[in-house]
Symmetry: C2
Subunit: 100 residues, 2 copies
């Protein structure tokens, strides 16, 4: 009866985190505003999610100026790619165990 | 590039919520302590998750005394079953879109 949830990674639990990681899995780097718009997040929301993912070592940010405007681009780290793939596998195992 | 996350239900985002719902999907009713132990949750944690799921109409609780001791059993509602199945489908669609 114990559901198979062991390897599900709490860092990727929320819809926003799934979204951020899946965008960065298939792009070398993506800027803050593009991610924000794709996922319909607020500035504050994305800033806190991305800060946490960066602290965990799953993504990294690159801050630069484009003209006078600051621009932040994110990319996934090798560790982040590996952790996200095993999270996806864990979700797949969980879903298989549901037999729906 | 927009990840397919639309029908993912925020009410089932956390590992604990996935666990609670999947236990109740395959049992008529399960008591508080059994769920708590199966999912390694604290009393407070399970109490807040189950209260929220109940407020959303996804589960219902039945409180009774066994001898002198209060006992709470939970069961899934028809609405909860439907919502959880569509959440599982949405997760499946999201995972398929990952092509991993």
């Amino acid at each position: 009866m114990k559901p198979n949830l062991e390897h599900i990674n709490k860092a990727f639990e929320s819809k926003a985190r799934l979204g951020i990681m899946s965008i960065l899995m298939v792009n070398d780097s993506v800027d803050f505003t593009t991610i924000k718009n794709l996922l319909d997040l607020t500035d504050g929301n994305l800033a806190s999610h991305s800060r946490n993912l960066e602290e965990l070592g799953y993504i990294k940010s690159n801050k630069q100026f484009i003209g006078r405007k600051p621009n932040t681009r994110f990319s996934i780290t090798a560790e982040g790619r590996e952790a996200f793939i095993s999270h996806i596998r864990a979700l797949e195992d969980f879903l298989k165990s549901q037999n729906l």
